[in-house]
């Protein structure tokens, strides 16, 4: 058990526990807070994978934007009283079964893959992943077209969201 393993296990348990709470807890605000916890855990995972950029970006985008947006939406769509009845639909057992089956299948399939137990390789010397990533995203030999398309997608989503949620004064 190295330090890294300890950190990983703690983080994984916290994240997965948080994730389970996200999908089970009735109060949506609590669910979103649990979600934030899980997202933090994922951010730590990125850190363990030495993707510092993703660690920070995870916090900025998921916690700073998406989660807060969700909390906003929850507050905007909250009824005066919490809706009665179950927070899950009638097919929840089937859904759980599906998730379990999928998980089992995935783990089983992965375990049959020879690369499953690959150990952590050393990063190359002087490897600045941010610089490489930045260059790759904007270089014509790299991913400039997907990057630009993504930016267009974001713009479209921005305009679309405004158009959809716009309250028309009749």
């Amino acid at each position: 058990m190295t330090v890294m393993q300890v950190i990983f296990l703690v983080t994984a348990v916290v994240s997965l526990g948080g994730a389970v709470m996200v999908v089970t807890v009735r109060n949506l605000i609590h669910a979103s807070l649990w979600l934030i916890l899980t997202l933090f855990g994922v951010a730590v995972m990125y850190g363990l994978l030495s993707a510092t950029f993703f660690t920070v970006i995870q916090v900025v985008i998921y916690i700073g934007a998406i989660a807060i947006l969700m909390i906003f939406a929850i507050m905007l769509t909250r009824r005066v009283k919490q809706e009665p009845g179950s927070s899950v639909n009638n097919n929840w057992w089937l859904a759980g079964l599906m998730a379990l089956v999928l998980f089992t299948a995935l783990v089983w399939m992965l375990s049959t893959w020879p690369g499953f137990q690959t150990t952590l390789p050393e990063l190359p010397q002087d490897f600045d992943s941010i610089k490489v990533l930045g260059t790759a995203l904007v270089s014509p030999e790299g991913y400039v077209i997907p990057f630009e398309i993504a930016s267009f997608l974001l713009l479209a989503a921005l305009i679309g969201a405004v158009a959809v949620a716009w309250e028309r004064k009749s």
């Binding site: 994240s15 999908v23 994978l49 939406a73 999928l102 150990t119 990533l133 974001l154």
Partner: protein, 102 residues
């Protein structure tokens, strides 16, 4: 020593929990949260494969960035839709929004 399997199993678990949330939760925003969990699982996979299999190439991270952008767009539009639906129908329970049927 930590190995790729740790992250893959973690990502799979996160993905499946998210899937359960998507399939089982009534509230549409909760479904959206499930989707976010699934996306996070995917991105962990991408980053883990980058780190363990080909750290000298940046492809995994580039994909991750794109997924982040898609996730942000999806949440923006999704929440806007829910707010619009809520305004009209006064509910965002997914099993009450079922007009599109026989």
């Amino acid at each position: 020593m930590i190995s790729l399997s740790y992250f893959l199993v973690f990502a799979a678990a996160l993905f499946c929990i998210g899937l359960y949330g998507v399939l089982a939760r009534k509230n549409a925003i909760a479904i959206l949260m499930g989707i976010e969990l699934m996306l996070n699982g995917v991105v962990i996979n991408l980053i883990a494969f980058w780190r363990f299999r080909s750290p000298e190439m940046i492809t995994g991270q580039a994909f991750g960035v794109i997924v982040f952008a898609v996730a942000a767009a999806e949440v923006a539009v999704g929440l806007a839709l829910f707010i619009a639906i809520f305004r009209r129908r006064n509910t965002i329970a997914a099993d009450e929004i079922d007009l599109l049927k026989w």
